[in-house]
Amino acid sequence: MPLDAADRPKTSFKQVGTRPLRPDGIDKVTGRARFGADANAPGMLIGKILRSPHAHARIRKIDASKALALPGVKAVVTKDDFAPRDDDLADVLVNVMARDKALYHGHAVAAVAATSVQVARKALALIAVDYEVLPHVTDVDEAMKPNAPVIRDGLITKGVDPALTKASNVAERYEFGHGDVKAGFAQAEVVVEREFKTEATHQGYIEPHACLANVGSDGTGELWVCTQGHYMVRDNCARLLGMDLSKLRVTASEIGGGFGGKTTVFIEPVALALSRKAGRPVKLVMTRDEVFLATGPTSSTSMMVKIGAKKDGTIAAAEALFKYQGGAFPGSPAQFGAMTAFACYDLKNVKVIAYDVLCNRPKQAAYRAPGAPMAAFAVESVMAELGAKLGLDPIDFRRRNAAKQGTKAVYGPTFGPIGFVETLDAVKNHPNYKKPLSKNQGRGIASGFWFNFGGQTCVSLNIGTDGTVNLALGTPDIGGSRASMAMMAAEELGIPYDQVRAVVTDTSSLGYNDVTDGSRVTFAAGAATIHAARDAVRKLCARAARTWGIPEDAVVWENGHAKPAGANAGNHKPLSLKEISGSAGSTGGPIAGHHEFNAENAGPSFATHVVDVEVDPETGRTTVLRYLIAQDAGKAVHPSYVEGQFQGGAAQGVGWALNEEYVYGKDGRLQNAGFLDYRIPVASDMPMIDTIILEVPNPGHPYGVRGVGETSIVPPLAAVANAVSDAVGVRLSSVPYSPPKVLKALNGRMKAAAE
């Protein structure tokens, strides 16, 4: 039976593109939805983690005898409860529980399980840790200096030829580019070169990490946890605890935000170890300060960007140097910064060098388009300055150099169909772009790119005897993906959306699914859902064919019905999905569709943001007046949630641009581990956020879908910076553009003008 032509995305839809209510909605507006901390178990203990007060210290000895003697304390674990490793989980384990050294303020050193939170807190205070405080470094530039304290013994920089012999804090060097940069700059008539820094920011999800572990004496275990990937949690925890994968069943709770921060394990192995030792269920919930101290913020950076252009606005050459610190472990997203930095542009001569650097800070975790927002801040700030020097409209300047289908990206390959130019045209034609501005107001424009990923995905679709459908997914739903999956299944099956119930199942129910990251779920799990539905449709058609006694290829599926098709099919009354499934018991048993695959070719997404701000010249305070986003979604399955992704990314970016930052004291301790002083935007900080969804189909998806979640945080840092610069004529070398820094810059300008 003919399905859509496999190689071209479907273009006409009945359900995709509409805005139905989400299936988990009622639970979430009534308080019934169960998040990480909302589960309990009989006989449950409370787990608490002891954390290092020092930025860098050798752990000479841990004495937990007093804690263990406290009535109500049932277990204490330290590094000795986890076997050391030298594989790909080695760093994960060291981060979960410090071994010979505490590597950052907040690093876990021990944990207790007790009958109440009060007893657990008391017990932590009774654990004696003998520290030898070591010199520390928290700034990326300082960490690269020759006299900096080396954080990890024997760390030799990778990616340098010939190989270095001396240990340092530089984990790896990356280089990308093509063409001849030197020759390019020689042709440039205007060159702008600037240095920038960005501070570390946190994903800032509202739900702290939480889990409930229950390990039996038979070596089987269960874990309830808020995570972006319960299969990742299962695999990592089982390996760290020496369990069989099949014996650890992990259930993903509803998840209260992740943005990349819940793509690894922190407390989960500890809760399991405590439970195993105590022989009772253990609930472990992070406090907010623990979330800031000891989960993964993103990198802080130090960057140089140089771009040269000809007078007609053609970029002749571009060069950049990026230094990203990722905490006390290798793995900062420096290379993604390097790869994405110039991805919006068609450059003939480009060179980017990047360094992955260690500091005495928490191990960075992915944060929404990891590495890209910082690089875009630097590049798009220089683009604004260069465009202004050339006297070009910022959109026209970008358009002249825009990457299109066929452009060779800075990181190597040639782009397929992409929608960057479309975003530029869309914002230029939007009324916001023409709104007049008053004194102290300014407009900033910036563009951004993200790769998007696919990944391992496994989906099952079971058709009930009443014709309604259960869709089993293995990708935690952070932003409404169950709605999109149900829509795609309903679209394929030709049944109403509310007859598909999408559920995120536990790890025992489906094959491995990669974590919900890389803007992959609507793309990858969506494609798997479509294929699973098509698998079910094939079976439905086969049942109809058998019922009618005609060949299977003489049956087509239309509008939720099997219909005879072709000259010899005969004249049969179409059979509905409900009718076929109702008789399934007699025609061959239950009907299900399934698909497992490794989704590839996710198709990148581009965005352009336009922001208007007003700056108080007497205090340096910036108010965001209006905000416009145009982004390519490939195909918006549920446009409301696509808009929501655009808007959420922009708001996070505005926070990053204006106020959010990790503040470290000279002692290497984090000074603002809470929502009071780590200032994420509040409702009154933001205006409405206008969105334009563009749809340049991704050939890699049956409906043309591209991921949308991450690109939206890439442009805002530069867009806000460019707007402030336009408003009051100062350009800072670092984000956040906090009032003291802006005011200082304004004072400097006034002073310079007076002299």
Binding site: E175, Q335, M339, A366, Y411, F453
Partner: protein, 81 residues
């Protein structure tokens, strides 16, 4: 024969080489061939890389076919938030 290009940190590990000509019809054969041509790359390739074929990115697709005229890049393994 296919032309395989490597960039970034991989190139420096390969002693500055950025282009390889290999006998390969799919990604797995490319990775095997590269590892043989340049043993220093082997551990990195085994850890996981992204392969770009004609602009399309593949993270884990051993059997993805390549044509002799395909544009092939070996890129770092990618992840997201």
């Amino acid at each position: 024969m296919v032309q395989v290009r490597i960039g970034g940190p991989l190139a420096s590990m390969a002693g500055g080489l950025t282009r390889f000509e290999l006998e390969a019809s799919n990604i797995r054969e490319i990775l095997t061939g590269l590892g043989e041509a340049c043993p220093r790359l082997k551990p990195v390739l085994e850890q996981g890389v992204t392969v770009a074929i004609d602009g399309e990115l593949y993270r884990n697709a051993w059997f993805q076919p390549v044509k002799p005229d395909s544009e092939i890049y070996i890129l770092p393994r990618m992840a997201g938030g």
